[in-house]
């Protein structure tokens, strides 16, 4: 069997409304949605932490749409943003379901205020295309974020919450690609020209202070032993990955100078950086202006 055109081979005549490939699967089909025997408010809060990490970084990456250095990279960053948005939808839906107050993914994404978001600062800081960085900074952040998430999700696969375990298992394949994409660029830019090396070095420097927060256990995570992953466990695995990539890129590991906290609190406590309010304004204004708007 051969075809003149790759797409022709994929057209399933019973599914004629799809332009190309078919055989899509529902992300969590068949997954048990029972809530494990833990404090529901804690579990809902934990789902929000994970969901907000994915949602907020997805939005930051989407800011590159039409602004990436190459058309191919524009598509790549948008694909990664959409992978993260898919993870965020599953996690926010779970948060609303566990909370039991009738909030769906849209209510949680678009109708919460800044202090109710639980994402880490690494996901929200500006790393380009606007202030705060450039493409190198963006891939530096993506490398750190995806390496950390891979360590977290690979443990979360064993969570006592069947939904979190399933989201983690699905997300790992996506994150593996994100990390690969970022690492490819960190190595090329770090080991490229003087200009690209300097920008890559500056990008790594920009995101490094936000690593510390990734490993700081929040009381919710501590109370949810068996369901949540202890972030303190992740540091050595992530360090190993980052050191390997930095070394291949000819870059040195910056000194650990953690970003300042406000009275010991940071993103997981709803304390955010200055630019976060602007991010939310852009992300939420359509839904708030036209409640229930649909494409």
């Amino acid at each position: 069997m051969s075809f003149d055109n790759a797409y022709e081979s994929l057209i399933d005549h019973e599914d004629a409304h799809w332009a190309f490939g078919t055989g899509f699967t529902e992300a969590l089909a068949g997954v048990d949605r029972d809530v494990p025997d833990v404090d529901r408010a804690d579990l809902a809060a934990y789902c929000l932490m994970l969901g907000d990490d994915a949602l907020v970084l997805s939005h930051r990456l989407a800011e590159w749409c039409s602004r990436a250095p190459e058309l191919e990279e524009d598509v790549a960053l948008a694909n990664i943003a959409l992978d993260l948005l898919g993870q965020a939808r599953l996690l926010l839906t779970r948060a609303g379901e566990v909370e039991g107050e009738g909030r769906d993914e849209d209510a949680l994404a678009f109708l919460r205020d800044e202090r109710d978001f639980r994402n880490v600062h690494l996901a929200e800081i500006e790393c380009g295309p606007f202030a705060g960085g450039d493409f190198a900074t963006t891939v530096a952040r993506l490398l750190v974020f995806s390496s950390w998430k891979i360590a977290q999700y690979s443990r979360l696969r064993g969570s006592a919450d069947p939904v979190l375990a399933a989201v983690a298992a699905k997300g790992l394949k996506e994150l593996a690609y994100h990390r690969d994409h970022a690492a490819q660029w960190v190595v090329r830019l770090g080991d490229g020209t003087d200009e690209s090396h300097e920008r890559m070095r500056a990008g790594i420097e920009r995101v490094w202070p936000f690593l510390d927060e990734l490993y700081a256990p929040h009381p919710v995570e501590t109370r949810l032993a068996g369901v949540a992953v202890d972030p303190a466990e992740l540091r050595s695995e992530v360090d190993g990955v980052l050191d390997a990539v930095l070394s291949a890129a000819g870059l040195t590991r910056p000194a650990d100078v953690p970003a300042a906290r406000v009275n010991g609190r940071a993103g997981r406590d709803g304390v955010h950086t200055e630019s976060f309010g602007y991010l939310l304004a852009e992300m939420q204004h359509l839904h708030r202006s036209l409640p229930g708007a649909k494409w």
């Binding site: 790759a6 490939g21 990279e73």
Partner: protein, 94 residues
């Protein structure tokens, strides 16, 4: 930047296709990134399970100027088509 990135031709094999088929081209700094860019640009709608990339500069193509001497002579060689055999009804897959 585009001007310094070489052009690559992309071939994708679909789930139910046996051969890689040309789907388009893209720019990439090197072969490894070309495969990744091809994944992002040409397989994001489930189109494929395997990708080849080839530097466009490595492809030697026939010239449109040679179209007549190259292809027209086969136009009247109907005897080259295997249409003169009687196919028995009970032979499947032919």
């Amino acid at each position: 930047m585009s001007s310094s990135w070489p052009l690559w031709e992309v071939f994708v094999r679909g789930k139910r296709g046996l051969n890689h088929v040309h789907v388009g081209s893209l720019h990439a700094p090197d072969a490894e990134m070309a495969v990744r860019n091809a994944r992002d640009v040409y397989t994001r709608r489930n189109e494929g399970v395997s990708i080849w990339v080839v530097p466009a500069a490595s492809i030697t193509a026939s010239s449109p100027d040679e179209k007549d001497p190259f292809f027209e002579p086969s136009g009247d060689k109907v005897y080259r088509h295997p249409t003169f055999y009687e196919i028995p009804e009970d032979v499947p897959h032919l």
